[in-house]
Symmetry: D2
Subunit: 429 residues, 4 copies
């Protein structure tokens, strides 16, 4: 639901923003509910942020982007917090590539007090603002909420990694059954050569990196109706896929050797059977689910092994732009990719939700994209090298983050986010 649609709900603009605000902030805290004290503090690898930091950083972002700009005479809650919880430059970042210097203080309780304080001031601001002020606040307010949605996703991905790294492998939440048990059946969808447009245009919120909408030329291509499953990927593993350098990009093969990769992250072989760690603990591998927690290098090697390739982000967007972004997102509460169903050759399945899909497109600015000043411009620009684009959102992505144009990006060796594979191919002539 966009700002422009606020009246549909019969709410005043301020009231409507208050409701959205409460919803996002409470969701973040609900995600932290199952955590024990130690879970807030731990950072099991560099990519991961301590959960404490997510709770505090998103709050600092609201202070910096909204309260400092629009709340009359607002004073920082604590200058130390600004130093501890700011990201490199105002505007923050989606992907934490640097370990966060979170330490002993402030304590967990102090951070929750900090959240309460900022919540009160934000709600007060929204309560008292007239329509003109609200219109000015809204872009920064939207940015801040979208920022917190992004951190909700990362919080869960980080918890999963931290829990997995613990010898006793705690359970985050009990398993919910998806109820889906249809055998997956792969078909290919054809798209003819031609000019197209991609990118965001229009009144709703979108990140700076989705703009401007621009023309591209796309050769004819085919796209798989559904993601690669664990069962399919297992064939690659058992065919020695991780032992054949010819299948891999040079840096990918370096990773295989350096990190000893033999399967996706979280997979473990026990007595001849494959298991994987899920947020509900260790379970036997489900073959019908989409494969998850693979790097770009693994996605690329799998595609080469399968005689296919990954789609470009333009191909992906052209294929999915007409489809409503519904699917197994964080709101489903499953927090795990659902088994693939069968499309009977009619539909592109699971493009939205379940797993982020690696594309073969490096993360670059769109033609004509000029960084604007301030948090909007700084938001993504500095990460525009070395990373690859992923599309479509995952089972831990908040629904509100996903548009057909949403671009996620990761360094090609990263595996701790919920990333999977959809195959593409050239259209044979």
């Amino acid at each position: 639901m966009e700002y422009a649609q606020r009246t549909e709900a019969g709410l005043s603009p301020g009231r409507w923003l208050q409701e959205r605000y409460r919803d996002v902030r409470e969701t973040t805290e609900r995600l932290a509910d199952p955590l024990e004290a130690e879970d807030y503090v731990v950072q099991a690898m560099e990519d991961v942020c301590p959960p404490k930091w997510h709770l505090a950083h998103t709050t600092w972002f609201l202070e910096a982007a909204v309260l400092q700009r629009y709340a009359p005479r607002y004073e920082w809650y604590d200058h130390n917090y600004a130093a501890l919880f700011a990201s490199g430059e105002f505007g923050g970042e989606f992907h934490a590539s640097v370990p966060r210097g979170v330490g002993l203080r402030p304590t967990i309780e102090e951070i929750y007090r900090y959240r309460r304080h900022v919540d009160e001031r934000i709600l007060e601001l929204l309560e008292n603002a007239d329509e003109e002020r609200l219109a000015r606040v809204t872009p920064y307010f939207e940015l801040s909420l979208n920022h917190e949605l992004q951190h909700q996703e990362q919080l869960v991905a980080d918890i999963k990694y931290n829990y997995f790294a613990d010898p006793l492998k705690p359970v985050y939440r009990e398993r919910k059954e998806s109820g889906l048990h249809v055998l997956p059946y792969l078909t290919w969808h054809k798209f003819a050569e031609g000019q197209a447009e991609i990118g965001h245009q229009g009144p709703g919120f979108a990140f700076d990196n989705e703009m401007p909408r621009h023309k591209v030329w796309i050769g004819g291509f085919r796209l798989a109706s559904q993601p690669v499953t664990n069962g399919e990927y297992l064939q690659f593993v058992e065919d020695g896929g991780y032992r054949q350098p010819r299948l891999w990009l040079a840096e990918g093969w370096n990773c295989v050797q350096k990190y000893g990769w033999e399967a996706p992250l979280y997979w473990e072989k026990r007595d001849g059977n494959w298991w994987y760690y899920t947020l509900s603990g260790m379970r036997e591998l489900e073959l019908d689910e989409p494969v998850c927690h693979v790097s770009y290098y693994e996605a690329d090697a799998y595609a080469r092994w399968a005689g296919r390739r990954l789609p470009t982000e333009a191909e992906w967007e052209v294929a999915f732009s007409a489809i409503r972004p519904e699917g197994n997102f964080a709101e489903s509460g499953w927090f795990h990719p659902a088994p693939s169903g069968s499309s009977h050759g009619e539909l592109l399945l699971q493009g939205y939700g379940d797993i982020w899909e690696w594309t073969m497109s490096p993360y670059l600015p769109y033609p004509g994209n000029r960084r604007t000043e301030g948090p909007f411009g700084e938001y993504h620009g500095k990460y525009m090298s070395n990373r690859m684009v992923l599309r479509g959102g995952s089972c831990i992505t908040p629904r509100g983050l996903i548009r057909p144009t949403t671009r996620h990006y990761l360094l090609p060796e990263k595996r701790w986010q919920f990333s999977g594979i959809r195959l593409a191919d050239d259209l044979e002539e």
Copy 2:
């Protein structure tokens, strides 16, 4: 001069190939002439190969690609050499990302004996082959010669780095004056939005990564008439360009901090003046020459500082495809970028030769490019991640390597090759 043009020279096909062969092989050895014994062995950093290795590896390539396939009953010269001088997979690679295990044996003299042996067998093969056999040999023969041309360039770049790393900073060759002393004068060339085609097509030799020729959509853009000069880059340095994180991509800023970058590779400040190491020793910085030995990150940061951007490789190719690839290549013997002249607004200068120009295009396969089996296909494919494309060749590139479609590629942090900057910008509407 292409194979198809052989008759113009009045030579039989076999004789013509023999002449080309001798020319390439002798050029390689002439480049090694000034080296002392120790210079053949040293590898001052990981990216560099010991010069011995270049001499041997190119010879092994001829054994593997030509003699093993087409010389009747050919036996490897020495099985140990095949193990020591092969690259990861047959077909080798342009850029050595892995240190070469060259050691004490074979000695320098043994390697020259190895070269003589292979030379004799190749020339014998060309002498005795009938036209049909020559036609079959030619693609692999061309690949091998082009491969050796690439290693000629890398040999010189590696010598420069090794010499620079030595405390006594030897001189490789005495300086030759370019004789150019026109003040550079920058203009901008405009290109309208539209569809275009890039990539190689036709009978002459080209690497696999230049194909297939394909359609692209290019927005309107402007291109600088000449590369950025040392004088212009110095303003960036003196304006604190290396101390402002906002100008840099995230990984670029990491490099600045990790490596302590303060200027391009080979620059040194002495008593307040800038000097740089050249293959003729340390000299005071010439302001009118194109800046050289910058990484992609520095090129990108400079462009941001200057309010511009780098061109895409498609833009570069569209702009230069109609221009003959002539310029300051290795054959000029200068081995250093020439000062920029002035175009009076009429010409795009120095696109070919002098310095490789960074583009903002990641190195990817062209649409529809399928790896073919064997050395042709394996040649470049595995490096198609994490690298950026450079265009146009440098002052140490053999002229024969450069077509308007030639794609060079480097990891974005590399600086030891002769890489510089040409600015581009969107066409304002």
Copy 3:
């Protein structure tokens, strides 16, 4: 108070052991009282153990050394705990050279429950054992209590380091004034050449590494009446001591360069004045206190700068064997070295307590020392290389650990324990 002296207190043997047990275990927990939840989990460097681990490991040691051996049909509290909290070999170690894989589970509360469970079973064992059984239990029981005393010291040293590493530098306890303000006055005590005996002999508890008592030949020497003070050490710092390689052992100079040492650990210069971190927070440097938190390399370099040397451990023991081990130990509650007083040339001051004193003796087995089987033998043997001996205990050492023969040992570069310097010299003839 030794086991042999139990009757003096009018207690039955079992009752007396119970009292000692409660005292040691409660002291450990009292030391952890000021900790917040996050403080239990953090490990700011490799040498440090998370406080949680100390609490659990000492409990596991009681299970392994006492309950498993003497409590009828005792079952491990939790087999996972045995895996997580055991040290390399049964018998444990004093100094943690390896990071402890403590993680998210068990939680802090679960660890306290674990302590309660073991406490009950130990007290029950002591309650029900007859005199003969008690006699058999006592050696392992004593070892376990002494082991926990050692971990009390390390717990406090680790907390200090963790707190210092935190940007907000928490306070562990408010400062207590020592009340000492006498100007220190250094004198030298002479000891003539001759044969002596060192090492432990007799009925009381001692660690295996203090035995056997054995003969040594000691040349004539002089010993300083008190440790080097902050004021004296500051002169070394200001004289450029950290910038003169000639003053340093080769590995010491490596440390200076590698770690950027410019002063003892915890010292910081602010606006021209020296401050240091104490367990009561940052304070201005007190010049009359013994210098603390120096490595062996710094102690050695200081002694060379001062034209003296460090004592051997035999010299130290000969000098202090007749003096009662009383001083500023953990029981004083000051947790900081006290200012040095003046001895008027009569006494050796501060040999016990305040700071561990580095000796120039590498940590080796005493002649004839044979490792016995089991926890006694394994206790210290494997650390008998690369380490230097320290003597006398510090302000955070439990009084009960210190005998004239007690040997502490650290790698020469370590600084996070309370280590200082007493000078010695040859007797001039």
Copy 4:
């Protein structure tokens, strides 16, 4: 032959020194004779110096210690050389713990020219000096020659390592048969408790670290009649000695895991049989030779496995002080430990030559040793931590370096020098 004995040879003092000088210098160059150009430059690991550096550094030492002091108006041959070939402080070092910045220039020929120049000037100095001047020159001259003898040993040890690291494993010299084929037969020699004196005293040359002679108390001990053989050590290997942490010191076990040690350096298992690299190439392991190229940690673990211990350096010196230092030194030309013979219970065999014997004594200054100023004092002092003493010299040690009091020292993990094991034990009472 000592300076005091010069007249015995019927030579004038100056002539005699000239002869000694020529002998040492020519021996160094004879050792380098078999090297190819690349062999002079390579440094296969940090501990190793490029052979070029040894040739130049010993020459620089003569310039610094002798010519600069005693040759009238001597000018440095080349100031660059002084910078490149000096060791950290004047006085140099025995063991190169830091990689040497030897590079491309000066070339090998230039270094030999440098040697010639210094040789001429030294011989001229000796020729022209009167007796009084000679007496003053002699200590520095002796130090310089002994320094070069030390580097002769290290040169050969370094060549062995460099050759071994080369994939083609060159041969340094053809094998000479030792001719010894007596089965070794181990006996134990008993030494009673008592006071003794160790260290150098008297007129002949000795290094500073061998002085002063001083009293020690030694408990009763037993010493093995000969070193541990390959055959004996092999039992330890096959008994799983490298897989049992209890046998190892803590840092030793770290090395086993970090470096993957499974046998001494240079051993390789091929098709079930053990081979080892010698300066005559790969050969099948000879069981009767002393085990060689073991670290202190391995020596210590072996002794523990065998139920024994290593000797202290005082025990070693007491046992061997009455025995003439003759044996398989470099002069034998075998460059490999000779098989152990049998002593019939009468003799201590192979104490001198064959292999350096690890002692359990850390390398410390002798009591009362004060560093003197200048090269004598600086020579060894800064290495007096973390290292262990070895005694007796090896098959590549020049005979002239070895006295009963000579102390060699190495970090306990080093294996590339010719180091082995002699067992000791306490005298049972």
